[in-house]
Each structure stands twice: as C-alpha cells, then as structure tokens.
Symmetry: C2
Subunit: 314 residues, 2 copies
Amino acid sequence: MDIAERILSGDIRAAARLIRDIEDEIPESIEEIKKLYPFTGKAYIIGITGPAGTGKSTIIDRLTYHFRKEGKRVGIITVDPTSPFTGGAILGDRIRMQSHSTDEGVFIRSMATRGQMGGLARSTIDVVKVLDAMGYEIIIIETVGIGQDEVDIIRVAHTCVLVVIPGMGDDIQAIKAGVIEIADIFAINKCDRNGVEQLVNEIETLLEMKKYGKDQWRPVIVRTQANIGKGIDELAMQIYKHRDYIFHWQKSEQYKKERARMEFLNIIEGMIRRKVKSLINKKLDEIVIEISERGNNPYIIAEGILGKAISAKD
Amino acid sequence: MDIAERILSGDIRAAARLIRDIEDEIPESIEEIKKLYPFTGKAYIIGITGPAGTGKSTIIDRLTYHFRKEGKRVGIITVDPTSPFTGGAILGDRIRMQSHSTDEGVFIRSMATRGQMGGLARSTIDVVKVLDAMGYEIIIIETVGIGQDEVDIIRVAHTCVLVVIPGMGDDIQAIKAGVIEIADIFAINKCDRNGVEQLVNEIETLLEMKKYGKDQWRPVIVRTQANIGKGIDELAMQIYKHRDYIFHWQKSEQYKKERARMEFLNIIEGMIRRKVKSLINKKLDEIVIEISERGNNPYIIAEGILGKAISAKD
C-alpha cells in the first residue's frame, strides 16, 4: 500500500508522515495529495481567528466537545505559535487540551512556521485536504489572524469565527483592517468583563457601514465565556446556521468557481515552488557566490535559469 | 528615457508608477528593477515592527525628523494597514504624518495587501530596491509584525526595532513566538505608563535564555515616549551602534552570502509567479469550470500545464 492508501485506510502514522512531507515541501507529497483529492470535499472547515490571549483555544476545546457529542470526528490544525494545543502555552492549558489526545475521533496537528513567502498558507491548505480525505467531518483551523499569510489560510474555511474580548483597546484597530472582512461570526469571549456593550456597538457600527444585501449573510455576534462553557451551544448553532447559508449559496455557480479558482492557484504555485527548489538546489551555493563576491546582477542570473527552464507551450 | 532612467534622475512620478506595477506583479516591472539593481545597496534599512497601538508610527515620525536633521533622505514603506501614514488612523495622527509630505527628502509609500501567498513580502522587497536606487539613505519599513509574511518582510532590514508597551498582557506571548528572534532593539514606548520594569524584566529573562556569544549582538532595550520625543536620540544612537556592528559583520562572507541567498530566492520566485500568471491567465476561466463543474482533479490539471511548460535544463 502506498501512503495515500494507508491514510485512506485510517493509518494515523502515515498521515503524520505525509503532513511532515508537505511542510518540508517534499516534491513527492504532491503525488499523494493528488491521490487523496477524489476523497475530499466532505469536511466542513471552520476558521477560528483573533489576537493572542482572547481564548481561541478554549473556544476550540469546548466546540470540539460539542461536535464530539454529536458523534462527529474533528480535525484541528493550529497555525498559532501561541496556541496551548502545541505552542508556548501555560502548563494548565496544555494539559486540558491533551484530554482530546486520547480521543481517537480528534486529530490535532500544529503547523510549523518553517515555510517562507506564503509557504505556510499553501502547506496548511494541503494539510486540510489530508484531514478531509481521512474523514474528519469538522476541520478547525486556528490562527492568530493578523498577517496576510493568515488571512490567506482562513480563506479556505467555510465559516470564519473572529474571537475578540472586551477592553482590547487599540487592538480592535488591527483586526478591523484585515480580518473583519472575512468574519462570519464574532465571538465576544470573556464576556463577564466590562466593556462588552461598547465592543458590541463598535462591531455593529462597522457592520452597519457595510450594507448587506437581503440574500447576503450579515455577520452575527455571539457572547461566550468559554472557560465555563457559556455561549458555546449558541456559537455552534450559529456556525450551523452559516453552514446552511453556505450550502444554499454553494449551489450557486459563483461560489463553486471562486473556491475552485483559489484552490487551483494554490496548487500550481506549490508545484512551481517545489520545481524551482529542485532546479536551483545544487547550483544555489555557486549562484550565491556569484552575487555576493563577484557582484553579479541576481535578476540576470534568475532570468538565465528560468529562460530555458520555462517556456510557454500554448 | 525609460522608467528606470527617469527614476534615477529623480522622477517621483515614475517611481510611483513602477511601485504600482510591482504591486500588481506586471511582468515588465522586473525589467526596470533589473536596470535599477546596479544602483542599489547603499541604503540602510530599518524595520519597525510591533502590535497595533504601540505607537510605531509616532516613533517613525520622530526618527524621520531626527534623520532629516542629519541631512539624510528618508524613505518610508508601511505594510501596516492600521498605520496613520496611510491606513485607518484617527484624523489627528494622519495630519501629523502629512507634515513630512511637503518635505522632498521624505518619500512615504504604503503597500496594499493585494498580494497573496507571500506576494506582499516579495513586492515590498522590490519596492525597497526602488527607494534604494532613488538615493534614500535610510529606508524604514513599518509592519504589524505578527504574521509570517511580515517576518519575511522585516528580514530584509539591517536593523529591526520591536516596539512594545507596558501592560500589553497576553500579547507579549504572541510577539515572543515569532518576532523576538529578529529584534535587534526593543523600544519600550509609552514608558510613562505603569509596568515598564516588569516588561524590561520579561525581555531580559528572554534574552538571558538565549546565551549570546561575545562577538554577537545582544539586543538592547530603549525606553521611549515618542509622543513627546523622549528617548528618540537614544534610539537613533542604538540603531547606529547596531549599524556599526552590522558593517563590521557585513565584511564576513557568511552575512553577505546569507543576504544574497535570500535576495536571489525572492527574485526567482517573483519571476516564476509572473510567468505562471501569464501562462494560465487566459485559460483560468476554463480550468475553473473543469474543476467546479466537471469535477476534474486540479492537481492533474496543474501538472498538465507545468509538465510541458517547465522542463529542467541542466
């Protein structure tokens, strides 16, 4: 059995290996994803994003229990280096998260930030495909959600939940700019704190400026207090409500095309990246010396390599 | 005169046009950067990064006055959508920043987040080249500094200043993970607030864990209160001190190679990206329909296009 077949038969270790190969951009990994592709498209992908310290991981923890109670298998991918699932979390958090690690219906995987120049986004999207093929019905992606890379990642989600807390001060500015456009649900966590109403008003003001059409999803606000499980049922309900909207919309040509387009561009960029890597791999040391010691123009060197390597067929 | 010649002769409008072309990944823009390349390498590049609300823009504003008093020309590139130079700032800030816009020795340019999959990092690096060729002796890049994309951007800086403020709470966690490794100087801004000593201790603890060799730069901490100009002279002094260190180190083979390597990979990826864009541009609509309507495997389609378009020469 090859790797793809082993993954499809439920071999967790084979999956972990392929994911590592994807992160390292090993060319052969594409072959395996290509084989897995026909088995994908069934998972519902939820993006959970927001600044550090807002309690995203606690929300994911609670949501996971919720979905598990419904009998659904849950895959979790964290791209957040501060996540207690994997990263620099305080001990208590980490132990709590590990409670899922004995549950075979939950698969948790963190993405290393090894990738450069968009590599992280591409890898994450490929890893989603692996989990999808493995039969996880719900896939949750956790990101800090500020950089462009993370906006790219969260775009693959069907539903994007933006987690905020009262009293974030200027930070809401940072969120406003990039991520608010892609939020389908605002979860105001730690809603026992002061300033909830002010935050609700701020978000409402933003939403009012946007003028949603009557067939369009207007982002909703859910108040949560994830540490005691408050608001999680409501959050899950709103996620399902948004899923219904998406499924309805998914029938539309435009939505399907949009996703296919994004997916295809991601795939072809990843392939080229790997190709270039293998193309220049052996020569790179020599090229670097040409530039750094002989002062040659790197643009001309790059053209020389590509000129003969890439030729439009058409 | 072609665009590159016009830029070299000081034509601001030509520069603005080229920068727009770079952002849009117009293939011809490479030709112009190639011509500008021999005139680059003179600018000193400073990265200013940190979460929103820490006062990065005020620091840049004050530093710019400082460098201008020394007679240096300053180029500013903001990749921060919340920057008052360009983005969603409060009115007062924006007006203050515009005071530089009547100064011909200052060139301010914001990068749109149009790029996807690392495109923003690549474009920013090319724009730095343009400003360098134009003769700006100091180039300041401002980013929010949390995503991988922004870490990639800040890596082109010779000196990286990380701006933090007391009382950021959990946010220091987010910074720790990604950006602290590349900070040469910590600027603790708004240092009239409570909690400065605690923050200093936190940073010191982090630095002590790292064990710097005796020839290695150990990041320094500078306390600023940028709104009243306090600490800016000290900050500039530390930047110059780090520059001296860099210049000393720059003589080393390893540093030069490291930068040449990064530069070359950036260039070749940008070229490939543009090539693919022109390759699939016309076919994209058709490909999207193949995937979304006929359910074809996008990996196989991508291979088909690249298989004949890219062939290793060796």
